[in-house]
Assembly symmetry: C2
Homo-oligomer: 199 residues x 2
DNA sequence: AAGAAAAACGGACTATGGTCCGTTTAGCTC
DNA sequence: GAGCTAAACGGACCATAGTCCGTTTTTCTT
């Protein structure tokens, strides 16, 4: 993240103690285990601490809060997706034209839901703080850049949020569960909004 | 409220006991009082119960949960807005052309935030259940209707949600507080999305 | 007006996310 | 390897939303 770009040996890399790393791993493993065996609604912090053989404080020290834990559970997929849209091949990566990249971004984000649906839903921040997560900020920056590259000049900050808001997991969840709609419909709808906005 | 439109004596009107009604009023009054004097973050259920001179169970019996309480606090403004877009004068009401109504709807919804911002923010349902509130369903139905009247034929369910999602209070709150943006910018951005979608 | 049935009351109780701080341990220095 | 320091640990503790059920009150019936 904030690793210095300079000489690798300078500027104190904040060493991670081995017990801390090991505990984080055990917590994540236990969390996946609980989710698989008992369902996501059984994943309380107390239960998880007991299951991982760890104090509750350790979980909060490692992940900050419940949302941080869920973020960590989906971190690998998120990082992969970030790599793809930052430096991967077309249509997500920088070698594709900007509109194509934008459409691919939305589709990718929505399909992430299809894979990690319950996780994302359970982990979505409760109101405040949802926007402060680094991954979300990166996404916002990315969409703003693509909008500019598509020729949008005015009000880019606002328009980017207008495009990002419908990508939140609960929107897709609602559409899929209560209206007669498939993920393909959601993708197509979002892309239609994006195309017409840029055109 | 839910007074029957038909013959008053038919269809068992579920009588509201007088003590219940009085307590609801006292709770709402106490809530506004606490918010005004001590700030919205001091409005815990225990505190409110003590302040209203009422048991905590009474609050939950009357409003269901914390979100229900906040919904009740903004109920009057919400009902007024509903009246306006269902049967009021143009540009919100049925005598205006559909696109104009749609733009006015978005603006009205966003300006509601300017008035009741903290309330709406604090009361916004925590993830699940946000879509099941009657007011939200009415809004969704309204936007779907307007989209159809604007000539949108395909995927109306999805497109309506794409337009509704950015109207959630936390989006506006984020834009206003962290980016250099005014409510007018938010309104203009949303309207641009709506116009380009329909065109 | 008295009695009965249904509804509402209230506050102790539960569940759960998150904090605090005295104790333990990893990793560095000599 | 002994000792030191900063970091991590862990579980008691706190705050708060929401539930439960014995008690009280309203309102209907006769």
């Amino acid at each position: 993240m904030t690793t210095p770009r300079q000489l690798p040996m300078a500027a104190a890399p904040p060493r991670v103690r081995r017990d801390a790393a090991a505990n984080s791993d055990r917590i994540l493993a236990a969390a996946r285990d609980v989710i698989r065996c008992e369902g996501i609604e059984s994943l309380t912090m107390d239960h998880l601490a007991a299951r991982a053989g760890v104090g509750k404080g350790t979980i909060f020290r490692a992940f900050g809060n419940r949302s941080g834990l869920f973020a960590a559970l989906t971190d690998e997929a998120e990082r992969t997706f970030q790599q793809e849209f930052l430096s991967g091949p077309p249509p997500l990566g920088p070698d594709a034209p900007p509109l194509q990249r934008l459409l691919a971004y939305g589709e990718g984000r929505l399909r992430l839901y299809a894979v990690h649906g319950p996780l994302l839903k359970a982990g979505s921040q409760d109101g405040s703080g949802r926007f402060d997560v680094p991954a979300r900020q990166l996404s916002a920056t990315h969409v703003r850049m693509l909008l500019r590259q598509c020729g949008v000049r005015d009000n880019v900050d606002v328009l980017a949020e207008m495009l990002l808001a419908p990508l939140e997991p609960d929107v897709t969840d609602h559409l899929l569960s209560t209206r007669n709609v498939t993920l393909e419909h959601v993708v197509a709808g979002w892309q239609r909004v994006a195309v017409s906005l840029v055109r």
